[in-house]
């Protein structure tokens, strides 16, 4: 095991070197190799080479002054005050050693964060809305599933626990789903003044039966309406206080509300109804194709816009009591990391040491439905890895649809499977995920070239 470190301090006379010495001594005592670059008054000494960085398991940056981190992209980095390296070098070394194991997970988290920061425009606002809606869907979906423990019709008996569960999950959590989606889309666009018209528009979409598509539209309209009104209406100084409390909510809610009722609501309800009916009647070849399409979308960009489109579509349908696409989407989102993890076990000569190590973490991300866990593999060899994971996910999605697997929870990976009634046709689901995983692993093994060292 090897660590690398950079030390630096404001004047570059004393602490830079004391920290370097302390880290070197502490590493020596622990039998860990370390190379410490000092950026002090003498300039850069003992400079880290590209090879040092490539070999290192983690980077310790002990710096009072700023040290550029560009060189260390993708590495696990421990940033500490230079004084900490002098005071407790042993603890610092230990922390850096522990970091190394989280390498892949950390990388994936950084990618996720970076992606969500990069999102712009309507897509970003939609994703904000979805992220606020998700907890409602999770709670609602699983609580409804629990009510089915007492029988699928048990909730109809008033005063029973099953009825209470249905009231919580269906009557409340699911009823809030579309309004919250619309409200926070508008909130994301126009800040606080967007929330009220968004919620109202979403509630109308629910009542009319325009579902989550109606909610998406209502949220966007509400947000952009408020943003537009904020820019165009200019009140005299003394009356400015009335804008957020009277003018904006009244005008924007009226506009969004009337538009939903008289213009948008009915056609969207028509689309939702047709789509819902079509999805519910899907079987055989159509179900297979649809599942394969959803699956391939999930794998194509591993958590990117196309993946999120398929995912959001499936989540939205939960509110319309269509549960099959959700199952297909989650299965297809789990197989990319799982399949690649399996491939690193089966074809050790086709992966780098780092990838084989990362494969262990990919198992965990796969069962947790974190599709992004496949990104480090795909980034290293996209032309071979992406088709492999798309194929596996398409198979998983298709099988899940054909087996008519239903899923009431929008997230949670393998951990929702034991919750009673969360999954319909559990056996079929396990088969779909397992087959998709194997397909990805075999294809990756077939396509990837041997690593020559």
């Amino acid at each position: 095991m090897k660590l690398i470190a950079v030390t630096s301090c404001p004047t570059g006379i004393a602490h830079t070197y004391m920290a370097a010495e302390a880290l070197e001594n502490a590493a020596k005592e622990k039998g860990v190799a370390i190379k410490v670059e000092t950026q002090g008054s003498v300039g850069v000494e003992n400079e880290l080479t590209e090879q040092d960085i490539a070999e290192a398991h983690a980077v310790i940056i002990a710096a009072g002054a700023n040290v550029s981190k560009e060189r260390f992209e993708g590495k696990a980095i421990l940033e500490i005050a230079v004084s900490e390296a002098i005071k407790a070098p042993q603890a610092v070394i230990e922390r850096a050693l522990k970091l190394e194991k989280k390498d892949l997970q950390k990388k994936v988290e950084e990618i996720k964060k970076q992606r969500s920061e990069e999102r712009t425009g309507a897509f970003k606002h939609l994703m904000t809305g979805v992220s606020f809606m998700l907890p409602l869907v999770v709670a609602g979906g699983l609580i409804i599933a629990l009510s089915f423990i007492f029988g699928i019709e048990a909730f109809k008996e008033e005063g029973t626990l099953a009825a209470a569960l249905m009231q919580i999950g269906g009557g409340s959590a699911f009823a809030l789903m579309v309004p919250i989606l619309a409200g926070y889309i508008a909130f994301s666009i126009a800040d606080r003044p967007g929330l009220a018209p968004g919620l109202i528009g979403g509630a109308l979409a629910s009542q009319i039966g325009a579902g989550f598509i109606g909610g998406l539209i209502a949220g966007l309209i509400a947000g952009y309406t408020v943003a537009f009104l904020k820019k165009t209406i200019k009140l005299p100084k003394g009356l400015e206080g009335l804008m957020p409390i009277l003018v904006l909510p009244l005008l924007s809610s009226l506009f969004v509300g009337l538009l939903m009722i008289y213009v948008i609501g009915i056609p969207v309800k028509g689309i939702m109804d047709v789509m819902t009916a079509w999805l519910q009647s899907l079987s055989g070849a159509n179900a297979l194709l649809f599942g394969a399409l959803l699956g391939a979308m999930m794998a194509f960009d591993m958590g990117g816009p196309i993946n999120k489109t398929a995912y959001t579509f499936a989540v939205g349908l939960l509110g319309a009591n269509v549960f099959e696409p959700q199952a297909a989407v989650m299965a297809a989102g789990m197989t990319p990391p799982l399949g690649l993890a399996l491939a690193t076990v089966l074809y050790k000569n086709k992966f780098t040491k780092g990838e084989i190590e990362a494969g262990k973490a990919a198992w965990v991300m796969g069962i947790s439905f974190i599709t992004e866990g496949a990104i480090p593999f795909a980034a290293a060899d996209p032309i071979r890895v992406i088709p492999s994971i798309m194929a596996g996910s398409a198979v998983a999605g298709a099988l899940s649809m054909v087996f008519k697997v239903t899923l009431r929870a929008p997230h949670g990976g393998i951990f929702v499977l034991p919750i009673p009634n969360a999954v319909g046709n559990l056996g079929g689901y396990v088969v779909a995920i397992a087959v998709g995983t194997v397909v990805t692993a075999l294809m990756a093994g077939l396509l990837k070239k041997k690593i020559t060292e």
Binding site: P10, A14, A20, E21, T38, G64, K87
Partner: protein, 147 residues
């Protein structure tokens, strides 16, 4: 250039009188000024105190290395001081400091001096070095530590 080449027995005081942080820094700076290594006491004091303000140079283990960069300093120099009672230097480990190295350098110092100073910093992280300094009773014994 070695550390010993930068040590000067006239810049050593093995029995500091000061009892607190501000006065120990002043006592060390005075030695530099009196020996003609720095022109202005005020300017050097200010540079050292500014460095202290960003973070204490009391690095713990009984050691403090106040330092400053200023053109009032004529050549890179090290002042060694030892307090037998210990002084609260707001150290990282909150323990009193006994051994002091005041390091003063001009703004544009030759790198050979700076390298020697970096060696001094490194050596102080060594337990044996610290113990020998604590035991030193005269300037000769201080020199011996770095030979």
């Amino acid at each position: 250039m070695q550390i010993v080449d930068m040590l000067n027995e006239k810049l050593m005081n093995l029995d500091l009188k000061a009892k607190d942080k501000a006065s120990v820094i002043e006592e060390l700076v005075d030695m530099l000024v009196n020996e003609g290594y720095a022109l202005s006491k005020e300017t050097l004091l200010k540079a050292v105190m500014e460095r202290e303000a960003t973070a204490s140079t009391g690095v713990g283990m009984g050691i403090a290395i106040p330092h400053g960069k200023s053109n009032t300093v004529k050549k890179p120099s090290i002042v060694f001081g030892k307090s037998n009672t210990g002084i609260d230097f707001e150290s990282l480990d909150e323990q009193p400091s006994y051994i002091f190295f005041l390091i003063a350098v001009p703004e544009d110092s030759a790198s050979e001096h700076l390298k020697a100073l970096s060696q001094l910093s490194r050596r102080l992280m060594n337990k044996d070095v610290r113990e020998q300094l604590m035991k030193a009773e005269n300037t000769e014994e201080v020199f011996k530590v770095f030979i």
